[in-house]
């Protein structure tokens, strides 16, 4: 039947930004209530800077989810990349660039494998990327038998750790934030591009896309590659921010997926916006900071976190058309 839809719903077509914005606003209010100077330029800058990796991952995850798939391997990929970088660079300043190139290549390779196995071999992405997760973690531990070796050079770490200093107004802008803004802009352009729109179609109805001449396997594989590239970028930033560790990427895939869902991206594909996903990630980071400032007892944090996520997603999903 023909139903002329009130404009209110139009916001939801573009990914349902309304709910996430509300949640984020509430958290920020609570935060400033406790820590008035949180929104002051210096602290805000460093907050955004350190949140950059997670936001990047969420953006990457968006492309995969909207194409109707799921990428559980990003966390392990981040860890792998950091460990690889550390071992290859091993404190040698000059090694930075070549290694960065190599990481990118490795990331793309992982994305390709994820994508091609999922599309050509018809393995559900949940399994593909779960398998990739096991493979990467296993391989990295094996390769560095149980403890990361070598170390990152200060030069390599600068991107994640340093900033443009003493600027007017803002004071300092972390390089990470600049990287993030650039990546976000690129992601936004991409989602509006033919590829971006086609990808949504692929997630919404693969059959129709196929019969309209879309190379579905290609589009989805591209999505996985984008996710892996995002992970690689995140790895460089995380490695830079806090150095080598097997924990570098632990649990990040879950963070990224939750962020996307919070941001109104529907698991199953065809709906959502990259902005939403990134806002979702920012919301999660805000939540963690909030718990720091309110001194929520460490052991109870998972409980608080779980509860808030459930509430938020429930709130969001009530307004959204069912998945």
């Amino acid at each position: 039947m023909r139903i002329a839809r009130p404009p209110r719903l139009l916001t939801f077509r573009s990914g349902g930004l309304a709910p996430i914005l509300v949640i984020l606003a509430v958290l920020l209010i609570l935060l400033t209530a406790r820590q008035p100077d949180f929104l002051s330029p210096p602290s805000l800058m460093s907050f955004l800077g350190r949140s950059a990796p997670v936001v990047l991952l969420a953006a990457g995850q968006y492309f995969v989810i909207v194409s109707g798939e799921l990428d559980l391997s990003v966390g392990s990929l981040v860890t792998a990349q950091v460990v690889i970088a550390a071992r290859l660079i091993d404190g040698d300043p000059s090694a930075g660039r070549p290694v960065a190139v190599l990481l990118l290549a490795f990331g793309i390779a992982v994305g390709l494998v994820n994508g091609l196995v999922t599309t050509l071999l018809r393995v559900p992405s949940f399994i593909t990327t779960l398998g990739m997760f096991l493979i990467l973690v296993g391989a990295v531990y094996l390769w560095s038998d149980g403890a990361p070796k070598g170390g990152l050079s200060e030069e390599f770490r600068r991107l994640g750790r340093s900033a443009f200093e003493d600027l007017p107004v803002l004071g300092r802008i972390p390089y990470a934030l600049v990287v993030l803004l650039a990546a976000a802009a690129a992601a936004l352009v991409l989602t509006r591009s033919d590829f971006g729109r086609t990808l949504v179609a692929v997630g919404g109805n693969p059959r129709t896309a196929e019969l309209s001449g879309v190379r579905v396997w290609r589009a989805k594989t591209m999505a996985f590659v984008l996710s892996s590239v995002a992970a690689t970028l995140a790895a460089v930033l995380i490695g830079g921010y806090s150095g080598v560790s097997f924990q570098a990427g632990a649990g990040l895939e879950f963070g990224a997926i939750t962020a996307a869902v919070l941001g109104g991206v529907a698991l199953g594909g065809g709906r959502g916006s990259v902005v939403g996903a990134m806002l979702g990630a920012l919301t999660l980071e805000t939540l963690f900071t909030l718990m720091n400032f309110y001194g929520v007892s460490g052991a109870l944090r998972p409980t608080v976190q779980g509860a808030i996520i459930l509430l938020a997603v429930a709130a969001a999903s009530f307004r959204l058309p069912s998945r």
């Binding site: 820590q35 100077d37 949180f38 602290s43 460093s46 350190r50 990796p53 559980l72 966390g75 779960l130 997760f133 973690v137 531990y141 038998d145 149980g146 403890a147 990361p148 070796k149 070598g150 170390g151 750790r161 995380i238 921010y241 806090s242 150095g243 080598v244 560790s245 097997f246 924990q247 570098a248 632990a250 649990g251 895939e253 879950f254 963690f288 900071t289 720091n292 400032f293 001194g295 007892s297 460490g298 052991a299 109870l300 944090r301």
Partner: protein, 390 residues
């Protein structure tokens, strides 16, 4: 996948383990987490006192070989286990996936190599940090005709039945690191323990900082007996010193998480006067957080991992590094051979638990070793050093 992460963390936290807190079997009175003022519900006064006493005890045994020394030893007869060699020694390992256990196990293998002639076969089974698997493993090993069984239990209570079963088989059982709730093993080897660790660190931090200053306690994971004891002891020391514990946070052993937490605390309290850690894993990250915030690094403790020691030396930090020495992995092999020779061995075999201070720091810093290597490995005299540990 979160679960994978969490379980990885348990071992990754670089937390060494020590003797069981009987608090474990105490009921989980729905207490609010540690650090909210009242003492940790996992605290056991008796163990605490015993360990603090041991800190001052003088070890007996060959000088310069702490892994053969013992603190107020009580010897036990082992004649009934006397057998002619060469021996098949079996080892049921709780897990291998954290640097501490990695270094320890390498050390143990090296120790085995030094007894090539006498040990014909060394069987190692890795339980991957799963109680259930370790129970199966032990059961499995009993069918392999071992002359001696070494067990490093994953948890205390749950492994007890399996160990008892092994004892009943009549072969000498040696338990080290974490203990079991039974006296049937010939000996139980481990250093002083978590209370000692936590106490030493807390004493140092509270003494070096201004009285009544603000302390941030950074912990790896909640709910791990080893780490709970460290915190419990630290709490007592801090309360005695009357310092203000502004926060007790869990870092999941994730440096990024650590930096974020420290960062937020600096912003919230302006200055932090002391940092206490229940394990060295993220000490480096904590130090960095202060640097990035342009603040002086307050008195802090780490562990004997080389990345921290280097940082300490380079940045001339006010720091201390209590240890939970990896050389304890040598002792079980030595003990096994003694026992199979019918020699007496101490039980419990309490190893000394040295602390690295500014004075002896240089002995332990070795820039050529990997960042996560544990300096207190007592492995420098073993075959294949340093290659094997790199």
């Amino acid at each position: 996948m979160t679960v994978l992460a969490v379980s990885a963390l348990l071992v990754l936290s670089g937390c060494a383990t020590d003797e069981p807190t009987t608090g474990a079997s105490g009921s989980p009175s729905a207490g609010t987490g540690s650090g909210t003022g009242e003492q940790s519900k996992f605290f056991v006064r008796a163990d605490y006192d015993k360990q603090l006493a041991l800190l001052d005890a003088t070890p007996t045994g060959p000088a310069g070989k702490p892994w053969e020394q013992a603190l107020n030893p009580e010897m036990v007869e082992t004649a009934k286990f006397k057998k002619p060699g060469p021996y098949k020694i079996c080892f049921s390992n709780a897990g291998l996936n954290n640097p501490w256990r990695q270094v320890g196990f390498k050390t143990m293998r090296a120790e085995v190599d030094t007894h090539r002639g006498r040990i014909s076969e060394f069987v190692h089974v890795d339980a991957e940090g799963k109680d259930q698997k370790q129970i199966a493993d032990i059961n499995d090993l009993l069918g392999k005709g071992c002359h001696a069984l070494i067990v490093s239990p994953n948890t205390t209570a749950t492994l007890t039945p399996a160990v008892e079963a092994a004892c009943r088989k009549g072969l000498p059982v040696i338990v080290f690191d974490r203990g079991v709730d039974t006296t049937c093993p010939v000996t139980f080897i481990n250093p002083i323990g978590g209370y000692g660790f936590g106490h030493v660190a807390a004493e140092f931090v509270s003494q070096k900082m201004k009285a009544g200053g603000k302390v941030l306690a950074l912990r790896i994971l909640p709910g791990v007996d080893a780490l709970e004891t460290r915190w419990a002891a630290a709490k007592i020391a801090f309360d005695k010193a009357g310092v203000d514990i502004v926060g007790v946070e869990f870092t999941d052993g994730d440096p990024a998480r650590t930096k974020k937490i420290v960062n937020d605390y600096i912003q919230r309290y302006g200055t932090i006067d002391g940092v206490w850690m229940d394990a060295g894993a993220v000490a480096g990250a904590a130090v960095e957080a202060f640097e990035d915030a342009g603040k002086p690094v307050p008195p802090i403790n780490g562990e004997d991992q080389l990345d921290f020691l280097k940082l300490w030396k380079d940045k001339k930090l006010t720091a201390i590094a209590p240890t939970y020495p990896t050389y304890q992995w040598r002792t079980p092999i030595i003990a096994a051979l003694k026992i199979l020779d019918g020699e007496q061995v101490p039980n419990p075999w309490k190893l000394p638990q040295p602390t690295i201070t500014r004075d002896n720091l240089d002995e332990y810093v070795d820039p050529t070793m990997p960042p996560l290597h544990y300096a207190m490995c007592g492995c420098t005299d073993l075959p294949g050093y340093p290659r094997r540990w790199k």
